[in-house]
Symmetry: C2
Subunit: 371 residues, 2 copies
């Protein structure tokens, strides 16, 4: 039997509606024709989607598995997205929950090139939870960001990324900012003997993303950030291939990913890993956005669980996190986590290093206990 791409949808409605919608989805996402109008040869080749099962999943809720011919995906990111949810995204009673990519399809994507082991090797941190913070705010000049980089790096933060709102504005143009910040991280490394990563945020049309990645590489940058839903997942995948050539790791940001009809654990946990994210920022439960605990747990599981030959990627829970939640977050996510605390380190300029050090100590503590 030919392997097929199997996709899980949640459908709202009574049983008859669920069956009608599931069969509608199967055709909509493939041949876009009523069953009676599909040419027999196309049916014989099993090109139309097929409903595999419909099970109840609560009051007026159903879960339906629909399968598609692998060749309809073109083995490409843009068309995979289209098969998964293109027109059906406009069905207000349907959500995309998950998908099962058979090995022949999965093999079309290399996934994370650096992943958890590669990032740990770069940072010389074999077991413990890693720390991450963000450069803020937009409006600062490059030299101000560089000063923050040096202070955070000296305080022991592992990954110092830019806010996703720091793009290529006149306040701090990309080229000058990256040069100064990368110099700052090198200075700090020389002073402390400890490595940290400065992570600039890429923003712009594909040609700019490519040029800026090249520029960052030339400056010695080893990791960059990019938001897949802002640039488009196919563009992210293309940048991931270029980054791999330069041995640059990719941090995916969750901006614009808050679509209630695609499960976040699937979009950020599976698709972002598939297209090459080495670490994925998402909103932790209990923060200022508050995705449910079950969902963020599945998201983190999807990023790290065995999946074909794909390397595991770091979950980066974020969104209003504070140092007093570090122990709880490590309990919840385990030590293979990149903990992101940013706004909470900033309330006063003078206290920045003290707060950053307290964050670093809290993150390292469970590791010390285990040794």
């Amino acid at each position: 039997v030919a392997e097929r791409l199997r996709v899980l949808y949640e459908i709202e409605g009574d049983e008859a509606t669920a069956h009608a919608l599931a069969h509608g989805i199967a055709l909509e996402q493939s041949v876009e024709l009523p069953a009676a109008a599909i040419p027999p040869a196309v049916v014989a080749a099993r090109v139309p989607g097929e409903v595999e099962s419909i099970e109840p999943a609560g009051a007026d809720r159903w879960q339906a598995w629909v399968s598609y011919h692998l060749d309809t995906t073109g083995f490409d990111t843009m068309q995979l997205l289209n098969v998964l949810f293109g027109n059906t995204s406009m069905q207000t009673r349907v959500a995309l929950l998950d998908a099962d990519l058979p090995p022949a399809l999965l093999a079309a994507w290399p996934g994370p090139r650096v992943g958890i082991p590669g990032l740990r090797a770069r940072l010389g941190a074999a077991f413990r939870a890693l720390t991450c913070t963000a450069l803020k705010p937009v409006g600062y000049a490059p030299s101000q960001f560089a000063s923050l980089v040096e202070r955070f790096a000296r305080a022991g933060i592992d990954v110092i990324k830019e806010d996703h709102g720091i793009a290529n504005q006149r306040f701090a143009p990309f080229a000058e900012r990256v040069r100064l910040c990368q110099e700052a991280i090198a200075r700090a490394a020389q002073a402390t003997g400890r490595r940290a990563l400065y992570v600039p945020n890429l923003s712009g049309p594909p040609a700019t993303l490519r040029a800026h990645l090249e520029l960052a590489h030339a400056a010695g940058v080893e990791m960059v950030m990019l938001a897949p839903m802002l640039c488009g997942l196919p563009t992210f995948a293309e940048i991931a291939a270029q980054a791999a050539q330069a041995d640059i790791a990719l941090l995916a940001h969750c901006a614009l990913a808050g679509t209630p009809r695609i499960a976040a654990d699937f979009l950020l946990g599976r698709l972002y890993r598939l297209i090459g994210a080495d670490a994925v920022i998402f909103v932790n439960h209990g923060g200022r956005f508050g995705w449910p605990p079950d969902q963020v747990r599945r998201l983190a599981t999807n990023l790290r669980a065995p999946w074909g030959n794909l390397r595991p990627a770091f979950p980066v829970p974020a969104g209003g996190m504070t140092t007093d939640r570090v122990a709880e977050m490590i309990d919840f996510y385990g030590p293979d986590t990149l903990l992101l605390i940013s706004g909470a380190l900033y309330p006063d300029n003078d206290g920045l290093e003290v707060r950053a050090r307290a964050f670093v100590e809290a993150a390292h503590a469970p590791d010390r206990e285990r040794m």
Copy 2:
């Protein structure tokens, strides 16, 4: 007073929640810092977002205008999207409704390069509603699509686009398909003395989109289709610039655009026009998806209304449309509309031309009545 980008959000909750969320959005979408932690110089430069008004909009519903410093957008598509809704897309109680781009910002985008007047000129149709159909199904070989193109063109259809699910699969690889279909449309034009446009669907990573656009141009293609939410809006904007060089019109498809937290009339009506769509396919009210009549009316208005120096773009209502709705659709949308009927023309192969001719006649009828 400096002009600012003004953005309209809908917020769900009681009055206190609405005020807290609106002020939270203003900071989240700009400096991402609590008010107390924003450096005074950044405040003085008015970089943080500012809540301009909060008005009731129904039971536990509020509409808030929030304004942003123009420079935070970087005058670029990706960062504009980010400022409009990046992290706030993850606030389950907030929707993005609209935005007011002052002239200095709007001038950064050329909008449609061909637009309604250009497409009318290309098709030699000055006043009447235009007709559009789709090539189906995925699974067909290039020669089968070419045969459909010729039959539809001979029947008088103006715009013959491919289904958005026809990408670059092994069934009908792009290069061969485009060559055969463009030859078919040329043959039909010679036979009928009437022009029609064959519109191939672009799919793939940015490098493939660029290469395929070039290939289509070399084959004589004058319009291509691309789905902004699948490829990413910044990529669409970049392809629009390349298409403009080749004088190729762009048809935007609504795949993956069904996000309930961005108003469709804003996303497809304003943003798609901004980034260069000459015509925009969306789901008509009363079809198999069913966006509300008010929303699709606003969407069509946004595509055609005066807006800076931007050319108007054709609305393309679709999604289960039938010939018996043509008169009603022209009444509803007016004649500056590209009517898309596809599945309904296909029920049996022999009847295809008859059905296509009936569609064309229905679309031309109001024009004849006016003369």
